[in-house]
Amino acid sequence: METRGTRIGLGVATVAVIAFLWLPLLLIMAYAFNSSTIQSWPISGFTLHWFREAWHDPEVRRSVELSLKVGLAATAIALVLGTAAAAAIYRFRFFGREAVSFLLLLPIALPGIITGMALNSFFNFGGVQLSMWTIVAGHATFCVVIVYNNVLARLRRSSPSLIEASMDLGADGWQTFRWVIWPALSTALVAGGLLAFALSFDEVIVTTFTAGAQTTLPIVNAIVFVVILATVIPVTIAQRLTGDTGVLRRGAAASKAAAAATGGGAV
C-alpha cells in the first residue's frame, strides 16, 4: 500500500532526478542563442549567429558528416546482427545460451573508454589502420545491444502460438515471416534502429569537440543544441513505437487468463 507520504516523496525525487539530468542541457541549449561569448546567466541577447558560424565551419561539417556516416553504418550492422542474435536466443535452446546473452549485454555496462581501448589494441595487434570503419566497429558494439534488446523484448511479448496459427493456416516458413513475424517486428526494428543511431550519432561529435577543442565555445553550444535534438527526436519516436504494442500485450494477457482459467476450472 502506498501512503500519501511516500507518493509525495517519490514525486519530489522524480522531479529532482529529471532536473538534475535536464537543467545542464537546457542551460547549454539556451547559451547557444547567447549573443555574448561569455557564458553567464541570464544571457545577454538572442542571436542565431553561432548556428551560422557552425554551419560554415569546415571542421564542424566534416565531423557531422562523419557522425552521419558512422551512425548509419553502425545502425545497419546493428539491425542485421542484433536481429539475428535476438532470433537465435529466442528460438533455440543451445549450450552457452545464457553466456551469449550476457556477452552481448556487457558492452553497455562497460565504460566506453574501456571498449575503445580494447578495440584500439585489438586493431593495432591485427595491423588494422584506424579509419571510419574502425569507429563503426566500435559503435556497432553498443548499437547491436540496443537492437537486440528491442527485438528480443518484442519477440518475447508476442505469442508463439501466432506462428503456429500461421503454419496451421497453410503458411510456410517464408509466408509466416512475411505476413506474421515481420508485421510484429517492424516497429521494434525501427525503434531499435532509431535508438542505435541516436546513440552513435552524438558519440563522434562529442568526442571531436571535447578532445579537439580549438573551436570557440559558443559554436560548441550550437552544435550541442543540434545534437540534443538529433538524439531526443529519434528516442521520442522510438518510445512511441515500442509503446504502441497494446495488441501484443493483450494477446499475452489473454493466453495467461486462459491458462489460469483452465488450471482452476476443473471440478
Binding site: 493456416l169 503458411a171 495488441v247 483452465t262
Partner: protein, 374 residues
C-alpha cells in the same frame, strides 16, 4: 443441409472408400526427454463425428492434438489422416486446422483478414474470397465485424473468429484445444451448444480437448478418457457414465459408490458380512473372485422400493437446489445419495435419521476391486 453443401470436399477425401476413419493413430508414443507424454496410444476417429479427448491436466491431450496437427512428431508410431500417413508432413501441408486455446488471432490484421488468411495462402482471391469469408462470418454470427481488429472484440467473439478462421478452409479435421477455457461459466455453456450445433451443420470431424467432463459429455458423440498418456476407456457419454470400466473413469466422470465383495453367482455379489446384492449379469460378464460394485448417487433411492437394500444413518446433508445430497453411513462405509427435489414441500431427511437405501441391479457397474478402501 444447405451448409453441408457449401463445405466443399477435397477430391482426395471424396475418393477414399467410405468408412475410412478421418484420423487414425497407431501405437503412437511421444517422449519429452524422460517424460512419456503419450504412451502407445491407438485411436480411430470416424468421419463427421464430434470426438472429445477428456482427462486431467498433464495426461497428454494437447500433445496428442499437436501430433495430429503436425506441431510435434511422434517418437514412435504412425498417424494417418484418411488413408495418408502424415509422418514428417509439416502443419501447413496437413488438411487439418486448429482452434488454439489462446485463439492466436493475428493482432495486426482485421477480422476479415484473419478469416481470409488461410484462403489467401491457397491463392483464393477477389469475389470468391470475399464470398467465402463473409459466409463464414455469417455462420458464426459476426457479419458486419469484418473491419474490426481482434482487440476490439469480446472473448466470446474472438473465440468465434478463431472458429471461422479455421473452418473456412474446410479442413478434414478441426482440432480444438480447451477452446472455452478462457470464458466465464455462462458464456462457456452457450459456446458449448453453439459449437455443437456448428459441428452438426458443417459436418466436419471435430476433435475437442477438455479436462471438463460435463463439457465433454455435453458436446461429444464419442469420448476418449485419457490418463497418463493412455486411453482408459472410449465410448459414448452414457457408456462412460453408466458403465465405466475403471475406477479412474468412474471417478473422473462423477461421484460413485463402490462396495467390495465376492462374486457368488451369475448376477450376485456377496458383501463382507454375507449380504448378497444383485448386479447386472452382463456387467459381471463371467467374472469371479473379488470385485467392486459401483452405483451412482442419483440411482440410489432413500426408500426400500428397489431390490437391493441397505440400512444406514444420515450423517450430512447438502441442499444444492435442484437436488439434495446426503452422506449416509452404512456397514460398508459412507454412501453418497442424491435425491431430486422434484416435489414441492417434500420433507428432507436430517442428520441422525435412520434410512433405508435401495437401488435397481440394472443401475450397477463392476470394477476391479481396489486396494483396501482408504
Amino acid at each position: 443441409m444447405a451448409v453441408e453443401e457449401r463445405i466443399e470436399q477435397s477430391p482426395e477425401r471424396a475418393a477414399e472408400p467410405s468408412g475410412t476413419p478421418d484420423v487414425r493413430l497407431e501405437r503412437v508414443t511421444k517422449r519429452f526427454d524422460d517424460v512419456v507424454a503419450v504412451d502407445d496410444l491407438s485411436l480411430e476417429i470416424e468421419r463427421g463425428s464430434f470426438f472429445a479427448l477428456l482427462g486431467p491436466s498433464g495426461c497428454g491431450k494437447t500433445t496428442t492434438l499437436r501430433m495430429i496437427g503436425g506441431f510435434e512428431e511422434p517418437s514412435a508410431g504412425v498417424i494417418y489422416l484418411g488413408d495418408h500417413e502424415v509422418s514428417g508432413t509439416p502443419p501447413y501441408k496437413r488438411d487439418v486446422n486448429t482452434v488454439f486455446q489462446s485463439y492466436a488471432l493475428f493482432p495486426h490484421l482485421s477480422i476479415f483478414e484473419n478469416v481470409a488468411f488461410g484462403l489467401r495462402r491457397k491463392g483464393t482471391r477477389g469475389g470468391n474470397l470475399k464470398g467465402k469469408v463473409e459466409e463464414m462470418l455469417d455462420l458464426v454470427q459476426l457479419s458486419g465485424y469484418g473491419r474490426r481488429k481482434p482487440r476490439q472484440l469480446s472473448g466470446g467473439q474472438q473465440q468465434r473468429v478463431a472458429l471461422a478462421r479455421a473452418l473456412v478452409n474446410s479442413p478434414r479435421v478441426l482440432l480444438l484445444d480447451e477452446p472455452l477455457g478462457a470464458l466465464d461459466l455462462k458464456l462457456r455453456k452457450e459456446m458449448q451448444l453453439f459449437i455443437k450445433r456448428l459441428q452438426h451443420d458443417v459436418g466436419i470431424t471435430f476433435i475437442h480437448v477438455t479436462h471438463d467432463q460435463e463439457e465433454a459429455m455435453t458436446m461429444a458423440d464419442r469420448i476418449a478418457v485419457m490418463n497418463r498418456g493412455k486411453i482408459e476407456q472410449l465410448g459414448g457419454p452414457d457408456d462412460l457414465y453408466e458403465r465405466p470400466q475403471t475406477a479412474f473413469v468412474a471417478g473422473f466422470l462423477g461421484i460413485s459408490n463402490l462396495l467390495t465383495g465376492e462374486v457368488s453367482g451369475r448376477d450376485t455379489v456377496r458383501l463382507g458380512d454375507g449380504t448378497t446384492i444383485r448386479v447386472r449379469a452382463d456387467a459381471l460378464d463371467g467374472r469371479s473372485g473379488r470385485v467392486a460394485v459401483g452405483i451412482r448417487p442419483e440411482k440410489i433411492r432413500p426408500d426400500d422400493q428397489d431390490p437391493n437394500a441397505l440400512q444406514g444413518v444420515v450423517r450430512e446433508r447438502a441442499y444444492i437446489g435442484v437436488s439434495t445430497q446426503y452422506i449416509v453411513e452404512t456397514r460398508y462405509g459412507n454412501v453418497t445419495v442424491v435425491v431430486l427435489n422434484d416435489r414441492p414441500g417434500s420433507i428432507p431427511h436430517s442428520p441422525g435419521d435412520h434410512l433405508t437405501l435401495s437401488w435397481d441391479p440394472e443401475a450397477t457397474f463392476i470394477l476391479d476391486p481396489m486396494e483396501e478402501p482408504a
